[in-house]
């Protein structure tokens, strides 16, 4: 089952529009898909800005995982397939099959573990693909998907140069060697070229600058691979990069859990700088679970606050699309452009 996450750099960057376009396209092709989300989406009015939002119209046959309270508000006919153990602020997550088309609000599992469990349940139904709707700038739960579509736009910043630089940085963070390893590691490990453990560190919540010093203390000349399974801070990466210059021999691999860890470390441009500094000093960045950036979408819309209310505003869409496209090596779409939805769908689901 192909799991595609729609992830945003901020609120109102076009996640729902992109998801709605993909769902519509799947419906047009009569593709049997699943849909869930890690936040709350599909509502008529934005919970924060009060501005109208794109709605999610689901076709018959679609499998949806959403919270019980969202089902109270749906205009679609549905049959419950499974009540999961996952719970959100809107009640238990329920997997349903859409029987008659209608609007649906999504509020699915809100953590990576719960999302993983629910996706397993959906996979058992024999679906070809599942779209996982993101929420705001949240990324952690998305660590279980295979492909991500990043959405960015004026809501995040009205400076196009910033958006393109950040898009470049995000894309760059996903480039890493695929490194198999213990799926449930309980320690930070250092191994030599033969895979023999030469040092370990206790796992803490975050791998920060302080932990870097501890790591350096167990880093012998034979150390070839460092596995850090937990969250890493930007300061830790910067500190490691600083010391990497004097470390010998070169050619070591720093293995993180997945690219979302790099994204969560800190400001993307600074994180990519630290990662590139590590590379420059002989470190290869690797991930135990790789995720592909399938595409990016851009949205020129932003909510502008005037007299204490939000009103719709726009930056130049063509310039935004052209500039971001030039900064990344994946296809970029303005999903509202003619043919963009079809092109994105075919690119993701060839």
């Amino acid at each position: 089952m192909h799991i595609i996450g729609i992830v945003g750099t901020a609120k109102n960057t076009g996640k729902t529009t992109t998801l709605a376009a993909l769902i519509d396209e799947a419906g047009r092709r009569r593709a049997r898909i699943g849909v869930t989300g890690i936040g709350y989406d599909g509502e008529e009015i934005d919970t924060i800005t009060g501005l109208p939002k794109p709605r999610l119209m689901l076709q018959a046959g679609t499998i949806v995982a959403t919270s019980e309270q969202c089902l109270l508000a749906t205009s679609a006919g549905y049959a419950v397939i499974k009540e999961t153990d996952a719970r959100t602020a809107l009640g238990r997550v329920v997997i349903v099959e859409i029987l008659t088309p209608g609007l649906m609000v999504l509020a699915g599992p809100n953590t990576k573990r719960l999302l993983s469990v629910v996706l397993d349940d959906m996979e058992a139904l024999g679906l070809g693909a599942v779209f996982v709707d993101g929420s705001l700038n949240r990324i952690a739960a998305m660590s279980v998907v295979e492909t991500m579509v990043f959405t960015t736009g004026a809501s995040h910043s009205t400076e196009i140069s910033f958006l393109s630089e950040e898009a470049h940085a995000i894309r760059g963070m996903f480039i890493g060697a695929e490194c198999a390893g213990d799926p449930f590691p309980q320690r930070i490990t250092v191994t030599d070229t033969s895979g023999v453990e030469t040092g370990t560190l206790a796992l803490r919540s975050l791998f920060d600058a302080e932990d870097t010093s501890r790591l350096l203390a167990v880093l012998t000349d034979t150390a070839a691979r460092i596995d850090i399974p937990n969250m890493v801070t930007l300061e830790a990466l910067e500190c490691l990069a600083l010391h990497a210059a004097s470390l010998k021999p070169k050619g070591r691999t720093l293995v993180l859990a997945d690219p979302t860890i790099a994204l969560l470390a800190g400001e993307p441009r600074a994180t990519l700088r630290a990662m590139r500094a590590l590379s420059a000093h002989g470190f290869t960045i690797g991930y135990r679970h790789s995720i592909t950036v399938g595409a990016m979408t851009v949205n020129p819309f932003y909510p502008s606050q005037r007299d204490h209310v939000f009103v719709p505003a726009y930056i130049d869409g063509d310039t935004l699309l052209r500039t971001v496209s030039g900064a990344v090596d994946v296809p970029v779409f303005n999903i509202k452009d003619n043919g963009a939805a079809v092109a994105l769908y075919e690119h993701l689901m060839p």
Binding site: G39, A73, L206
Partner: protein, 623 residues
């Protein structure tokens, strides 16, 4: 005291079992400055025996995550004021907790004034507590308990406004005068009938008739007593201009709305049980819009509604049948419309149907009773002087309507709105008291509804020149001196003190509500902030304006009192004296309608004119 590991709360004196039942909670003011809310939550949780740790405001998120990981907390409670950009910050916090593995063991909770369950879900939190949440709800959530429905604000109960009153008269002279006035009225009305009364009897029979032939006969007799416009509508489906049947699509849309709009956490307007229940008008012309507004008002805690009928309906003999709508003020009185409203509104919501206006008073009460309405509205005096019905006709019809109220166990309210025409308060109050005594004699419970606002006579005579408190208070004092009867000031309260400006309008409503609460009245009717100035249908936000304002006024007053000045006593004595004078004069007349024609309960000089609708239609019953 400090518990284990520097945590706040009870600890060392507890058994292991009790300790294991306690939750371990990290309280995080994820805010540069504001931490008052989370401090209160922290203190309350500690008071309930939970181990809490309150962090200082404005710590870096990474520091908080590390502290959260070190403590192995059951709950991480975050408070934060919200603005644009803050959502992303709060979302990043849940992301960090998830990436750090903390969400495997800790529930993450967000609190703040604008937080809703939907926003909490969007931000990725397991639970959200907002402005309407209570400390008890937070404690119950932490303790894994279902909060009793009432404590969670789920349970709405229907209050019996008239139930606790004896209708005993304390002022013996007034009681004796009312006794005589009502006896004479009943003696006059004995053996008399009207088309309105006869139609009610026929409708009553039609509602129960199962034989088609008999039904057709009843229908024909009913039609014979109706105006042409009504028979055209009922027999030939030729509806009056602007009236149409509510479409199947509209009914379907309403059903969808009702299916999705259950007020799962209604707000309570009253701060204590002694404070009055709060009513609003419904009468947009469209029952679907009325219900939509009604459901939203229920969510905001409104306790009851008064269905107001259109003025044109009052002028016709007979009522149109069906679920009907029209683009005009007042919602058409039909069994289908009333029933749809009754069935759509919460069981706890009181529903009043106005009956005294026009030529269909008994039939309206019959339909209200059959549809399950809780109250009706009958005033023989105002029905004539303010609502245009002939005094004799409203007397005959009103008496029958009160009998129907007794049959259905519905109390009826008596609006004193003739005062708004310029009638002095004592004349209006005398009229109300006549209705109370008449209802008592007919087995129906009346509710006094003195005007609780500015009025033309008051403006001219300066009783509210110093303040709005004394004279409104005096009316209540005077009525309490006379009889043990429920009082429901209206209608609406604060009328004529409101302006087109919504905040001013909400404010003045709330001040009158506060005064009403302090006087211990049973109910109040409130307007929306655009009621007098809407230039069309009332908007729902304006309805909520006044509900919220009154809720705050009730919270502000609690069980405290507003102290009127000494003038309230002076006005009370004046009103009592003048009520007695009016009733003596009325009693001296052969019947109530003679008194009305004589202007004793409101004269042409006062701005009150006996109505003409239905004039000459009262007849003697055939032997």
């Amino acid at each position: 005291m400090n518990g284990p590991a520097g945590l706040h709360g009870r600890g060392p004196e507890l058994t292991d079992k009790e300790l294991s039942a306690m939750a371990k909670i990290l309280c995080v003011p994820l805010d540069p400055v504001h931490d008052v809310g989370i401090k209160i939550i922290n203190a309350e949780l500690a008071k309930h025996g939970h181990q809490t740790l309150l962090l200082q405001p404005d710590l870096p998120m990474e520091t908080i995550v590390k502290r959260a990981a070190e403590g192995e907390y059951d709950f991480i409670m975050v408070s934060r004021t919200l603005g644009y950009g803050v959502a992303e910050l709060l979302a990043r916090f849940t992301d960090l907790l998830d990436a750090a593995g903390i969400r495997e063991r800790s529930k993450v909770v967000i609190g703040g004034k604008p937080v809703t369950p939907e926003l909490a879900a969007e931000l990725g939190y397991d639970k959200g507590f907002g402005a309407q949440s209570t400390i008890d709800e937070v404690i119950a959530y932490v303790e894994g308990r279902e909060l009793p429905k009432e404590a969670a604000g789920y349970t709405r109960t229907r209050r019996d406004i008239a139930g606790k009153y004896s209708y005993k008269f304390f002022d013996k002279e007034i009681e004796s005068l009312l006794d005589s006035i009502c006896d004479k009225l009943l003696a006059w009305a004995d053996g008399k009938t009207s088309p309105g009364v006869e139609r009610m009897k026929l409708r009553d029979a039609m509602l129960r008739e199962t034989n088609p032939a008999t039904f057709a006969d009843l229908r024909a007799r009913y039609n014979a007593l109706c105006d042409r416009t009504i028979t055209d509508a009922n027999e030939h489906k030729i509806l009056p201009k602007g009236v149409r049947v509510v479409s199947a699509g509209e009914r379907e849309a309403l059903a969808t709305f009702l299916g999705t709009s259950t007020p799962y956490q209604p707000v309570r307007i009253q701060h204590n049980d002694a404070q009055p229940v709060v009513f609003k008008f419904l009468g947009s012309g469209c029952p679907v819009m009325d219900i939509t507004h009604g459901k939203i008002c229920e969510r905001w805690g409104i306790n009851g509604f008064l269905i107001i009928n259109p003025s044109w309906e009052a002028r016709y003999e007979g009522l149109i049948e069906g679920c009907l709508t029209h683009e005009n003020d007042g919602t058409i009185t039909s069994l289908e419309n009333i029933r749809l409203m009754r069935e759509s509104l919460d069981e706890s919501t009181l529903l009043t149907v106005r009956a005294h206006r026009g030529l269909n008073t008994p039939e309206t009460v019959l339909l209200a009773g059959e549809a399950g309405a809780n109250l009706s509205k009958i005033d023989l005096v105002y029905g004539s002087l303010g609502a245009g019905t002939d005094p004799e006709r409203i007397s005959v019809d009103g008496i029958e309507a009160m009998r129907l109220c007794a049959r259905y166990g519905m109390a009826f309210d008596i609006p004193g709105n003739d005062e708004l025409s310029g009638v002095p308060s004592w004349k209006t109050l005398a009229g109300l008291l006549i209705n109370v005594m008449l209802g008592k004699k007919l087995g129906a419970k009346a509710i006094l509804k003195p005007l609780f606002c500015y009025g033309p006579h008051i403006v001219l005579n300066g009783q509210m020149k110093q303040n709005f408190v004394d004279y409104n208070t005096a009316k209540i004092y005077a009525l309490r001196h006379i009889v043990d009867c429920p009082i429901w000031p209206g209608e609406p309260i604060a009328f004529m003190t409101q302006s087109e400006e919504r905040i001013q309008s909400a404010n003045t409503t709330s001040y009158h509500a506060a005064l009403a609460a302090t006087l211990g009245v049973d109910a109040i009717t409130i307007a929306s902030t655009d009621e007098a100035y809407s230039r069309g249908p009332i908007c729902i936000t304006s309805r909520i304006d006044t509900i919220r304002a009154v809720t705050d006024a009730f919270r502000f007053m609690g069980d405290a009192q507003i102290a009127p000045s000494a003038m309230a006593g002076v006005y009370t004595d004046e009103i009592l004296t003048k009520i007695r004078e009016v009733l003596r004069e009325v009693e001296a007349k052969p019947t109530l309608h003679d008194a009305i024609y004589a202007g004793l309960l409101g004269s042409e000089e006062d701005g009150a004119y006996p109505g003409k609708f239905g004039s000459g239609t009262v007849t003697h019953l055939k032997e």
